[in-house]
């Protein structure tokens, strides 16, 4: 089973993750994007697809700007 198909839960709160708008920042710029977060403690989960996909794209654009 690959990581995208799994049902990840927050280990502390034992809750399933929900999608929330999260604010990311890099090099003084902020970007909002949806990410899975724990409804209990607010911990954000970043999958590899997100990190190496959309986030890497935006990071590169911001580095070039």
């Amino acid at each position: 089973m690959n990581a995208e198909e799994r049902t990840w839960k927050c280990a502390k709160c034992k809750k399933e993750l929900v999608i929330r708008k999260t604010v990311f920042s890099y090099l003084g710029h902020t970007v909002a994007h949806e990410a899975r977060t724990c409804p209990g403690c607010g911990k954000v989960f970043i999958s590899q697809d997100l990190a190496e996909g959309r986030m890497a794209e935006v990071e590169e654009q911001l580095e070039d700007k």
Partner: protein, 749 residues
């Protein structure tokens, strides 16, 4: 940074400069552009280029003796020069509907008198009339043309003059001879162009040459009167119209174009490697070229423009910016004010190998790597550099210059005449290389040891502070050891020392090994090519030493066609531009079908990762076989510490124990694929241990209850690491995945 600081690097670059033909042309016409348009059959644009440069295109195309042809670089290939006159005629013939130039601008109050309606006077008069000045031309004969009036083709010249003047208002007073300049008192400027032997109103002696001034402030002179040829006279008139315009605005006659047209530059020829010889196209008709013939002849133009570096370097080729542009953008980027403006050069700045190859092939030795390194340093000084691009390497350098560093004379001594400086990567890659080389040096030269990092990572990052703090540290260690001659295994270390510690005597390990009779290197391949590291470009002694060793082993050596190109590692550009790095590494590996002998640990690693058969010369020297194995990041750290441990024991009898962290005890099971992925992402096992240890301790992690798989993260200043793992036993974890991102985010509450 001032603009001049950046453009100083590219001042001598020839790209974009006029070609040799343009320097020889009396009109400095952009012949390259004219021929480019003609070659495509774009007759109107070609005609306009000709007309705007020469003012009277028909007269010039018929009468010019084409001094440009003597400097047409086609001749370097043994071909006849481009038939420029015939092509100018073709552009006139094939342009439908030739019109005169005119501008929609408000009329000006100032009035200029032109004395003499020869072509010199007329060209000046026309240009000023086009700018809507009030121009009056005085001519004692009853028509224009001056010395051309008796010419057999005067009818065509007459028509050309009439056409060019047709769109502007000019007052012509024919049959009006000016006897004294007092008659012209009402004019704001006067141009005397009365022809050879004509009246100069007593001012000929005072003629000021290039600016065409006289001792009378608003009176100018030129043309055949002053000894110019017919073509020069027209060109002078054109130039003077601009001078007069400035004079009328400022009261001063100042030059309006700079030194761009130095006559000697007509002899500045380029190398045209690979250009194909092509004979001049012959006209099938006595009336001149057909359109197709003209296009073909114009297509013979080599479009002389130096593009050597841009054609040879993958990085410059990919970004396609010319050197002058790069310099200007490097300066502009320092003044960027987000969000109102953006940087335009960042990615390119960090994609350069800083290898010096462009400089070595440039006819003017322009060093683009030096410019880009300068830009990196300026960005870091200003705090606008993207830290993530070099952070990993700077942390490695910090390790090598602190925990991994060690300086000592041989056992029992306080000072030494020689000391081995292996650099930080050799021992990390292969401890045996350093330990055995040191054994040899200790025996033969009673050498001490200096473990550390030369600072190349800081130089490449533009981190001047770190670089110079480390230079000071090195100098201190070197002084403490009694100022020994340093023996280098790494060409990059040598080049850094050459730049920043040049008073320290240097010799390469390979020369010393080559000198030694007892050294009998083992043959790794029957035939091979030596791949010199880019930093060894100027070091013929090091290059020769390695070749001597290889030859001693009986390897049949082939010389690569291009030497001292960067393997791809240089400048630490891989992080900034992974796809470019792959392209470069692939190209280098493919430069020869023979296996490579290298003498840089990084070159070895690049080629081994490409699956290219290669060996480090030290493997041959010491009878080792490292194969194509590349150690992981963690293994490299461990190797460096092992080297230090052994040498501290050997030289000082001290038991060195590296610093231990609480998470070091964790055991990680990492499959080959995962390990490869981690290495390419610059994630080390130590990073993962720290992340997992913290996550297990705090319970701060995600898990999948179906099989106990966990994911946790660890936030470091520049990077956030994520690792997917499963407990496989007490204190033991199997790693399934590791990745990172640079953006940070806030926890939602």
């Amino acid at each position: 940074m001032k603009l001049e600081d950046a453009t100083a690097f590219t001042a001598r670059c020839l790209h974009g400069e006029p070609a040799s033909c343009s320097y020889a042309c009396p009109f400095h016409m952009d012949i390259r552009a004219f021929l480019e348009k003609a070659s495509k059959g774009r007759w109107l644009p070609a005609y306009k280029t000709l007309r705007n440069a020469t003012v009277f295109p028909v007269i010039v195309s018929i009468l010019c003796d084409q001094p440009c042809r003597a400097h047409c670089q086609r001749q370097l290939l043994g071909d006849e020069a481009i038939a420029i006159g015939a092509l100018e005629a073709a552009s006139i013939r094939y342009t439908k509907n030739r019109k005169a130039e005119s501008y929609v601008i408000p009329p000006k109050n100032q009035r200029i008198a032109v004395v003499g309606a020869g072509v010199a006077g007329l060209s000046c008069a026309l240009n000023l009339a086009q700018k809507k000045f009030g121009v009056t031309v005085f001519e004692k004969k009853d028509g224009w043309g001056g010395s051309l009036r008796g010419h057999p083709r005067f009818a065509e010249f007459d028509a050309d003059i009439a056409l060019q003047f047709s769109a502007v208002r000019t007052e012509f007073r024919f049959g009006a001879e000016v006897k004294t300049l007092a008659e012209l008192a009402e004019f704001d400027a006067i141009y005397i162009a009365t022809g050879a032997g004509g009246d100069s109103f007593g001012l000929l002696e005072s003629w000021g040459g290039e600016l065409q001034t006289t001792s009378e402030p608003r009176v100018f002179m030129g043309g055949e009167l002053c000894g110019a040829s017919l073509m020069e006279g027209i060109a002078q008139g054109i130039g003077l119209s601009k001078t007069i315009e400035v004079f009328l605005q400022t009261g001063k006659a100042a030059p309006t174009y700079g030194d761009r047209y130095d006559k000697e530059k007509c002899e500045r020829y380029l190398a045209h490697d690979g250009a194909v010889s092509a004979p001049r196209v012959l006209a099938s008709s006595p009336d001149g070229y057909t359109e197709e013939e003209a296009k073909a002849e114009a297509g013979r133009c080599l479009q002389c423009d130096c593009v050597k570096c841009m054609a040879a370097c993958e990085m410059l080729k990919r970004f396609r910016k010319a050197p002058h542009t790069i310099a200007v953008e490097a300066y502009n980027d320092m003044g960027v004010n987000p969000p109102f403006s953006i940087h335009t050069l960042t990615r390119e700045v960090y994609s350069c190998n800083i290898c010096g190859y462009c400089k070595s092939i440039c006819p003017e030795s322009v060093d683009m790597g030096a410019l880009l390194q300068f830009s990196r340093a300026a960005r870091m000084s200003a705090g606008i550099h993207p830290s993530a691009l070099h952070d990993f390497w700077l942390r490695e350098m910090d390790f090598a210059t602190s925990e991994g560093s060690f300086a000592s004379a041989p056992k029992g001594k306080e000072a030494c005449a020689y000391a081995f400086y292996p650099g930080c990567q050799l021992g990390a890659s292969s401890p045996a290389h350093v330990l055995k080389a040191y054994e040899f040096l200790r025996e033969k030269y009673d050498a001490g040891i200096l473990l550390g990092c030369c600072g190349a990572p800081a130089y490449w990052a533009g981190d001047e502070k770190r670089l110079h703090a480390n230079i000071d540290r090195i100098r201190q260690d070197w002084t403490d050891l009694g100022n020994p001659t340093l023996v280098f295994a790494c060409a990059t270390c040598e080049s850094i020392f050459g730049m920043f510690l040049s008073d320290i005597k240097r010799v390469s390990l390979y020369e010393l090994l080559a000198r030694s009779e007892e050294m009998t290197p083992v043959r790794a391949f029957p035939e091979a090519a030596v791949f010199d590291p880019c930093a060894a470009r100027e070091d013929s002694a090091m290059q020769a030493g390695v070749r001597t060793l290889a030859a001693k082993a009986g390897v049949g050596l082939e010389e690569l066609r291009e030497n001292n190109r960067c393997c791809g590692y240089g400048g630490h550009m891989r992080t900034a531009n992974p796809s470019l790095y792959e392209e470069i590494a692939r190209n280098r590996a493919g430069a020869s079908g023979k296996p490579y002998i290298v003498y840089c640990a990084n070159c070895r690693e690049v080629f081994a990762s490409q699956g290219k058969e290669c060996t480090h010369i030290l493997d041959m020297v010491f009878g080792l076989d490292s194969g194509l194995r590349v150690p992981s990041l963690q293994e490299k750290r461990d190797n460096s510490l092992r080297v230090k441990k052994e040498l501290m024991k050997k030289n000082r009898d001290v038991d060195f124990e590296p610093e231990i962290h609480e998470w070091d005890a964790l055991v990680l099971i990492i499959g080959e694929d995962v390990q490869k992925s981690m290495d390419s992402k610059l994630i080390s096992a130590a990073d993962l241990k720290e992340a997992i240890w913290q996550a297990e301790k705090s319970g701060d992690k995600f898990f999948d209850e179906s099989d106990g798989m966990c994911i946790c993260s660890m936030v470091k200043p520049v990077t956030t690491y994520w690792v997917q793992y499963k407990e496989a036993g007490p204190g033991t974890y199997e790693i399934f995945n590791a990745y990172y991102h640079r953006m940070s985010f806030n926890r939602e509450e």
